[in-house]
Assembly symmetry: C2
Homo-oligomer: 303 residues x 2
């Protein structure tokens, strides 16, 4: 590329962070400024070293960072976003607590405007690209019913909730779509020595995270042997355009979950450079802004 | 609604224009300023009269029009858009000639900026909402292959091409998806007295509109008995996020074609009021702008 690359830092080198580094390295217009992590495992250091990517414990140690991808646990996103926006660096997160994201955006918008930066909030696939689809479904058929069916795939939130229970060594919670937005939970637990499976099974079934769904709990020897980060979604709407009923719309995908999340974050990083200072969810940004390349060429090719 | 309604004119009262009137009447924030048509059939006049909608032959006869929906044949869109934008009225069209729409947008953008108006170009479902999906598929998986499979449904363009052939009284061309973006054409012709079916069949099969596709031609007594304005699309992409292959994305719908087109145009009319002067395809407008209502409420509900 003749143009200068956009320098992007990856904050958090877990599941999504690793895929974010890969997606940035594949992007023609970006470069990895560095990875920000707590003092870290030796194999991470070696891996990043081999790729020539600095590993630091604070984003302040990196030079010329224009955008930070926040690949940390979702609950730490608000604090980290506030701090990094205040440094004059754009942020992109995949904050996934649906009930709180609208307020988070309003709060980050003020910080971003005060620091002449841009935050893109909840830029994953749900919330994220699925939100764009849900919005389109709504304006294509203003009356009707939409359903979002997740899975089959691993639910990070439910898995973490089970892992935190006493007596659980490791766990996996799978989301199975039943249809019409109803989900079944299949939970696999690896017990600590002496823990009671019946007690843990009960604790899971009465946990607020699980109590509304049909939940099955299984004891396994090694959760690691079950891990597959594939996921899926089926979004359906049957609705009315004008006064014409029975319009049927559907979006579905089967994907590697952290790989898609990371790729969407990289696209959102690009889009952040094209917005006025402030904070945005993906439905507030034209889809063309997520693309690399000349706008007229993109219109010729894709519209 | 407490807010004043947006006054919208419908230009052209054919297939799409009728559904546009219905969609405007169903919209909480819009009102039909009037319908613009050539001196017209008595039953149209009666129908519009019964709904209290003025029928005029020039948009200049209508008061306080803010937006015009151009529901005319696609080839007349450029001229009509130029004229109406110059009157200080926003335009929305569903211009569907993919090869020309980028240049049309550039031309209308200058006229719109000079007249402090907004044009939304090619705001139907393809080009239109499908274009948004194609763009999303591309930034979710920057490498890979996309296919757009149309049908089963009536192709307006192909139908008109056959109707124009000498000896054809009426015609219908159906598009059948074969997969991977390949289509089969099923053409039904009603002949004029004395016309040769073999000659017409030959003319269709060698017409540039049909020559690339597998085309079957049938003689029927009455084309009207075959008409069904239902249509569909299946858009598929298999691609790569970062360095992760085999990401599978799919969008499909089965819809009443003119009803959806009209509903998208009404949403685009709303969006036109939220853009700076200029001309836009749908991929250049945030999807939230097509919605009626408070942005923060929409974010809370749909993101």
């Amino acid at each position: 590329m003749m143009n200068e690359s956009i320098r992007v830092a990856v904050v958090g080198y877990g599941n999504i962070g690793r895929f974010a580094v890969e997606a940035l390295m594949a992007a023609p217009d970006m470069e990895v400024a560095g990875v920000v992590e707590k003092p870290s495992f030796a194999d991470n250091v070696k891996l990043l070293d081999a790729m020539g990517i600095p590993l630091v414990t604070s984003i302040r140690e990196l030079q010329g960072v224009q955008i930070a991808l926040l690949c940390t646990p979702t609950r730490s996103v608000p604090d980290i976003a506030r701090e990094i926006l205040s440094l004059g660096i754009n942020t992109v997160d995949c904050y996934d607590i649906h009930g709180n994201l609208a307020d988070l955006r309003l709060e980050l918008a003020e910080i971003a405007r005060a620091n002449n930066t841009v935050a893109v909030v909840s830029a994953g696939w749900d919330p994220g690209t699925d939100s764009i689809i849900r919005t389109m479904f709504q304006f294509m058929t203003p009356s009707g019913l939409s359903y979002t069916n997740f899975g089959p795939g691993m639910s990070m939130g439910h898995t973490v909730a089970v892992r935190d229970l006493p007596g659980v060594e490791d766990a996996l919670s799978m989301t199975m779509p039943v249809g019409a937005g109803v989900h079944r939970r299949m939970v696999y637990v690896q017990l600590q020595d002496g823990a009671s499976f019946e007690a843990i099974k009960n604790a899971i079934k009465t946990d607020p995270y699980f109590v509304k769904d049909e939940t099955h709990v299984f004891k396994v020897a090694d959760v690691n042997q079950l891990i597959d980060v594939g996921h899926g979604v089926d979004m359906e709407r049957k609705g009315v355009s004008g006064s014409t009923h029975n319009q049927m719309l559907r979006f579905s995908m089967r994907i590697n979950n952290p790989a898609l999340t990371a790729q969407v974050m990289v696209a959102a990083a690009r889009a952040s450079r094209k917005q006025m200072p402030g904070a945005y969810t993906m439905i507030q940004i034209p889809v063309i802004d997520f693309m690399h390349g000349d706008p007229d060429d993109i219109i010729r090719q894709l519209v």
